[in-house]
Amino acid sequence: MNRRHFLAGSLLLPFGQAGWMARAAEAPAGQRRLVVIFLRGAVDGLSVVVPYGDDDYYGVRRSIALPPPGRDGGVLALDGHFGLHPALAPLLPFWQAGSLGFVQACGSPDPTRSHFDAQLYMENGTPGRGATSDGWLNRLLAELPGPHVPTQALSFGAQMPRILAGPQAVANIPSGAAAEKPLAIDRPGVNDAFARLYGGDDKLSRTFQQSTQSRQQMQADMAGGMMDDKEQIAANNGAPLPDGFPGDAARLARMMRQDPQIRVAFLALGGWDTHVNQGNAQGQLAGRLKPLGEGLSKLVTGLGPAFQDTLIIVMSEFGRTVHENGNGGTDHGHGTVLWLLGGTVVGGKVHGAWPGLAANRLYQQRDLAVTSDFRDVIGPAAIRHLRLPGGAAATLFPNAPNGGGAPVLVRA
């Protein structure tokens, strides 16, 4: 029995039909979606969208600078001033097609250089205020028109991130192919017994009920389209994926394509805290960027036509010091680059005011200054892309400085 049959077979058994399960085989055209990818650990934005045209760039980075376009290990030319890290070559076609753009020198107004506080503020959407207990993506879900089904939002990973914390239902699945293995709880007798235990309206019961409903839906989503996916065939044989993200990205694309009710997805990737031996065209950072670029490319390809209606945001809590440190790495900084990828993106352009790398232009004499507040980038883009009411801006990011005045980097 192959895996497809096994999964399809197991689906017939465990659960009752829920009303929201009726669905089209493919997402209908025009259903807008949002995917947020968080690079935890503070990615060095100056090595992603490289300001090789800045007079000071090669002076401040002794060993980790990337050469200009055309040189050995050089950046990929973007606009004459900035170049893309060569490990991200799979993304260049999207730039050329105008569906990939960047906001350079983007970040939070809060001065913290703590990863954990900075991530918290970017996830709860209130810089400087840790007490906000829900996340802006969960608040965004509440603004979407209903029905609010258990798989409206999908988070990869065994823990629920702060960005999705809140009253709106969110399904989560582990990273990696293990996500697709059936569990004992999927067996009808077992599920029924626990359903009696968790039939109430308390916290655990609600979580259990969401779990039952979302597992059923997600297994259906993952089973569909399985045969046309080489990555999945590899996973069926039990072979570990060479790297986690491309596999998860392909899985996410398949699920989103199958299930139009998935409106929001979130993934976090670690390993960007490059205090030593960051490298340039090769090395530690390049080794992280490569699967990121490949995964994003897989996500776009896998989404197929749905890509036209999907906005993918790649963000990180802050950037890294402009000057290289004493160990070929970089320490915690301030401004970094935010990525926008999708059919509605005003792409092919590095947005945002460039503050420059001259000593007197740096934030606290050491970091790239922030010229675009992340809230003024994400808020207006998400609202226009998802066709939310204008008033949602204040719900997502209550104290964003520019509100409706910020340039909107996606098309309606």
């Binding site: 969110v170 582990p174 999927d186 007798g189 968790y198 597992r215 004493g326």
Partner: protein, 497 residues
């Protein structure tokens, strides 16, 4: 010629704290009941085993706690002692493990690669097995709970560089011996351990342009200095500035590992690098520093000792770590008045962790009805407590490590220095619910990895105290008898400690 200076342990500065004349533990009456015994076992151990609630109650909850606060006097479980003797790399020194790993790394052939992977797997597997077995089997349960807590507080990651060979030693030599002593010593032990020096990069932190600076070691690295204040001591709101981070990084220059060959003064004998702790004066910044309002004279490794002393005694550290302890042991949102009293004890006793624990355990807040059964178990706590309740000892716990990974809490597997979160909001979500209940179903029907075990419903039931939640009673009454044990282990009563 490069000379590295080795340090005499600072332990001579601090005597062992006396325990013989400790006054008895004073508990409120509610603590001395059967439910009090259960609460003590839920919070101060990895969960009650069948019969244990009655044993602790009969012995006296206060006396059981007093005994747990002096773990050295508790005879260790023979089962644990035997399990640990089957882990051959556990006793190896950091230098031995490093040399073996480094030697295997030099062999670039396929065979060499395979051998290195096998070695890495064996060493990390031994360390993880020991960690798991101790939590499951040790009679010194509070010491193990605290080892888990403080390891997580001073987290290092199995997957960074050489850390997989040092991680077991880090837990055994830098964490466990100090969890009920002076915080200053615990901090010192972590600060000197290769696993920490490597994990947070301080081994490369070098005064720019110094005599020993060369290549990729020619300048400051702030990583350890920042986390030492933000996570290990003061807390992010502890009142330090970026200037303090930079100054502490300068103080820490040269505080690292023996990474370069060293020659003795009277002989041409060369000592090969073994990556043990060493202070390299040639890479140290000898300028004076201004740190947290103190002037620290440039003089070498003694500056680090001064900085660690300042940080250990700082009121912000007392507050930050009292909060974390109370959050772990009492409530996700611990009562502020309790945290204040613990912090006061911290300051009064110079950071005596046993005294701080005593203040917490003797508080009415610890035994208050709203504190009972309100801590949602982490995956590790859930797994270990279920095995304890089922009196199940896996012949090899390694298959369970994959379960922990899928539940989001692999042993030694969190990459970031903040460690795992200890609050419900981090762990209660749909996927983990499905996985916990599936684990409960397997264990409840006697399947544990490759083992078949016998589970006793009544025994498991006895670990859950006198009454169950009404929904649990109801579901049990309606259940297929073969699923009753699974339901008990998967009940809301069992999800909380």
């Amino acid at each position: 010629m490069l000379r590295l200076m080795c340090l005499i342990s600072a332990a001579i500065l601090f005597g062992p704290s006396a325990r013989a004349d400790e006054p008895p533990i004073m508990l409120p009456p509610a603590a001395m009941t059967l439910e009090g015994a259960r609460h003590a076992l839920e919070r101060l151990s990895f969960g009650p085993r069948p019969g244990e609630i009655a044993e602790v109650h009969d012995q006296g909850v206060d006396r059981w706690i007093a005994a747990q606060l002096s773990p050295g006097a508790i005879a260790e479980s023979p089962a644990l002692t035997e399990a640990l003797t089957n882990l051959p790399t556990l006793a190896d020194s950091n230098a031995q493990l490093y040399r073996k790993e480094a030697m295997l790394r030099r062999d670039k052939s396929d065979d060499g690669k395979e051998e290195r992977q096998a070695f890495a797997k064996a060493v990390a597997g031994d360390a993880m097995t020991a960690h798991f077995d101790r939590a499951l089997l040790s009679n010194r349960q509070l010491q193990e709970v605290l080892t888990n807590f403080w390891f997580n507080h001073f987290n290092v990651f199995l997957g960074k560089g050489f850390d997989h060979v040092w991680i077991g030693n880090y837990e055994n030599e830098a964490i466990r011996p100090y969890v009920l002593g002076k915080f200053r010593l615990l901090l010192e032990a972590t600060a000197r351990h290769p696993a920490m020096l490597f994990y947070l990069d301080n081994w490369q932190n070098t005064a720019p342009g110094s005599r020993g600076a060369k290549g990729k070691e020619d300048g400051l690295n702030e990583n350890y200095a920042r986390e030492l204040m933000e996570l290990h001591t003061l807390g992010v709101d502890g009142g330090y500035s970026q200037a303090d981070v930079t100054e502490l990084a300068r103080i820490l220059t040269g505080w690292g590992l023996r990474t370069r060959p060293e020659r003795g003064p009277f002989t041409m004998m060369k000592r090969e690098p073994d990556f043990t702790f060493a202070f390299d004066p040639n890479r140290h910044d000898y300028g004076d520093k201004r740190f947290l309002g103190f002037t620290i004279k440039g003089q070498g490794w003694q500056e680090v000792e001064q900085a660690l002393a300042i940080l250990s005694a700082h009121p912000a550290t007392a507050k930050h770590l009292s909060f974390q302890l109370a959050q772990y042991f009492v409530a996700d949102q611990p009562p502020p008045a309790l945290v204040d009293r613990m912090a006061r004890t911290w300051v009064q006793t110079g950071g005596d962790l046993s005294a701080v624990m005593r203040t917490m355990i003797e508080s009415p807040e610890f035994w208050a009805p709203e504190a009972i059964g309100n801590k949602y178990k982490t995956p590790f706590e859930y797994l270990v407590s279920s095995l304890r309740a089922a009196k199940a000892t896996p012949s090899d716990p390694r298959p369970l490590f994959g379960q922990l990974r899928q539940l989001g809490q692999p042993i030694y597997g969190i990459e970031t220095p903040d460690g795992y979160k200890q609050v419900e909001s981090a762990w209660l979500n749909p996927d983990s619910m499905a996985r916990r209940l599936s684990f409960a179903t397997a264990l409840g029907s006697g399947r544990l990895g490759k083992d078949e075990i016998s589970v006793n419903e009544a025994a498991i039931r006895s670990t859950l105290g006198q009454t169950l939640l009404p929904q649990t009673d109801k579901a049990l009454a309606a259940a297929d008898p073969r699923l009753r044990t699974a339901l008990l282990l998967g009940s809301p009563d069992f999800m909380y400690r």
